[in-house]
């Protein structure tokens, strides 16, 4: 009898990208022998029904583990002591250079990159949501292991059916403005300051009836958040720039439902789900051609290869103005998103699962 396969996540929480990916995989791969419960050191109260405390598991011969890695991990000892097949799923780690020296984020990301070679050597298989991540891993580690790209699921039907807060939808539509959206935690590598600068050009020179929504948690990088608030206060478009912080799932669905354009100028992303979610909603996406973005959203977006706020603002205007362009993008997005359907992702898992069972 084949052993069990556990996904292991250090901390399982709501509105967290790594947890979301692991939970989607758990649901998707039940029929393929992956345990429906995710092994964790900690699970938030709302998700305890989907989690099994790591210390309560009695390992059996033939069991295998897939450990999610996204920063410094307390799961190194598990990888060391575990006797069965081990895989790591590398979500990537933001390079510490993006954060001020001495800050908590700088320390954490540096610790993550320092630990990564040890985790990679302990694993038998390397998995990642993008080839970019696998290349980054290989560049950082001397050893080599079998590698598989397994993207997260982006289910267009499910995304469009997601319940949106009606009051929020109404509030976002009532002004009759162009809504420009970016979703992601407030962090220097996500370059929300540059999104603001582009919007400043668009709002003050092209279309004053517009609003920028920078949705995302700001608790991780207080220095950057404070700088963003300072920058916003100095911009002419300040009254049209909203920083609502972390929002509920229903409010987030409202933002996607009412957005006219998604603008992503991230300089470092290991995958970046929000632009794909936006594409699933039929929203035109402009993204920076940096890190994993050309691979993950590139075929479904307009990629900008140089940071020029005035020209990007004109590009935003062109996309909003020309319906045929948007239709071309939507058609490209429909084709690209077939890579991320539940069945496609499940198929992508099979070689890795077969290797874990050997």
């Amino acid at each position: 009898m084949a052993g069990r396969i556990f996904q292991v996540v250090e901390c399982l929480a709501e509105a967290d990208g790594v947890s979301h990916t692991a939970r989607t995989f758990a649901t998707l791969l039940g029929a393929d022998g992956v345990e429906p419960d995710i092994a964790t050191l900690y699970a938030s109260p709302a998700l305890r029904g989907e989690a099994t405390p790591l210390e309560s598991i009695v390992w059996q011969p033939g069991d295998a583990i897939v450990v999610h890695v996204w920063g410094p991990s307390r799961l190194e000892s598990l990888l060391q002591s575990f006797r069965g097949p081990r895989a790591i799923y590398f979500h990537n780690i933001t390079p510490p250079e993006f954060f001020p020296a001495g800050s908590a984020s700088h320390r954490e990301t540096r610790a993550g990159w320092e630990q990564l070679p040890r985790l990679a050597e302990l694993a038998d298989i390397w998995l990642a949501p993008s080839a970019f991540n696998l290349a980054a891993l290989a560049e950082h580690v001397r050893c080599r292991r079998p590698q598989h790209v397994i993207p997260p699921v982006v289910d267009t039907t499910e995304e469009r059916a997601r319940a949106a807060d009606p009051a929020h939808v109404e509030a976002l539509r009532s002004r009759g403005e162009v809504n420009v959206l970016f979703v992601g935690r407030l962090a220097p590598n996500k370059a929300q300051d540059q999104v603001m600068e582009v919007f400043e050009h668009y709002h003050s020179r092209i279309n004053a009836r517009s609003r920028l929504h920078l949705v995302g948690n700001g608790s991780g990088n207080p220095l950057y958040v404070r700088s963003l608030a300072g920058l916003r206060a100095r911009l002419a478009a300040r009254d049209a720039i909203e920083l609502p912080g972390k929002v509920s799932d229903q409010a987030l669905a409202a933002y996607y439902r009412t957005a006219d354009l998604f603008l992503c100028l991230s300089e470092h992303e290991g995958f970046c789900l929000p632009p794909l979610t936006a594409a699933a909603h039929g929203i035109p996406v402009i993204a920076r051609a940096a890190a994993a973005l050309p691979e993950t959203i590139g075929p479904a977006a307009v990629l900008v290869h140089a940071y020029d706020p005035a020209r990007i603002a004109e590009l935003v205007h062109l996309l909003l103005e020309e319906q045929p362009l948007r239709e071309r993008l939507q058609a490209a997005a429909r084709a690209h998103l077939t890579r991320f359907t539940p069945s496609a992702v499940r198929t992508a898992w099979w070689p890795a699962l077969a290797a874990l069972r050997q």
Partner: protein
């Protein structure tokens, strides 16, 4: 996927479009930018250095803002008490390297002092920058409050006017007409 040059040897955008389409988009973008030149100048680029504290784009202004440049990295570039070996021609560099030899030996206390000073100034610079950001936020909030107060005052005036225009109240049914 087609890519379009924004200048003869630079790619600005790419997308799921034909090369002709990308060329058209780039032409439109540049044409519209030219047309907007007469409008108010943008406010963006000089603020970047204060936001992320990283190396800024080549398009940054040549005139340096002291608050933006007095950072840890900027101060560390000052070589004192040693001579800066990276400046000048080959002869000058060699001379500075030679002059630095005794300074390295006997200038340790001064070097230590300078290092501590750099750290302190850098920390004060961060603090000042933070205070300026905070002040900008407060100024913005203050202007918001002022605007709200103005709107409320206008509304009160409007209501006063309406009250003045109201007819005198009718007598109740129990009173004689």
């Amino acid at each position: 996927m087609a890519k379009g040059p924004s200048s003869p040897d630079e790619v600005f955008l790419s997308g799921p479009f034909e090369p002709d389409e990308v060329e058209r988009l780039l032409g439109l973008i540049d044409e519209r930018l030219r047309l907007r030149v007469s409008q108010a100048p943008p406010v963006a680029s000089e603020r970047r250095s204060g936001v992320r504290g990283e190396a800024t784009a080549a398009s940054e202004p040549a005139v340096l803002d002291p608050l933006a440049t007095v950072t840890g990295d900027g101060l560390r570039a000052l070589a004192a008490p040693l001579f800066n070996q990276d400046r000048g021609g080959p002869l000058g560099r060699s001379a500075r390297r030679l002059l630095n030899l005794p300074l390295r030996l006997f200038g340790k206390p001064q070097a230590y002092f300078n290092d501590v000073l750099r750290t302190l100034v850098s920390a004060w610079s961060d603090l000042l920058r933070g205070l300026l950001d905070g002040q900008a936020v407060l100024e913005h909030e203050l202007s918001e409050q002022r605007r709200m107060l103005d709107a409320l005052a206008a509304r009160v005036d409007e209501l006063h006017e309406r009250l003045d225009q109201l007819p005198a109240s009718r007598p109740s049914s129990g009173e004689p007409a």
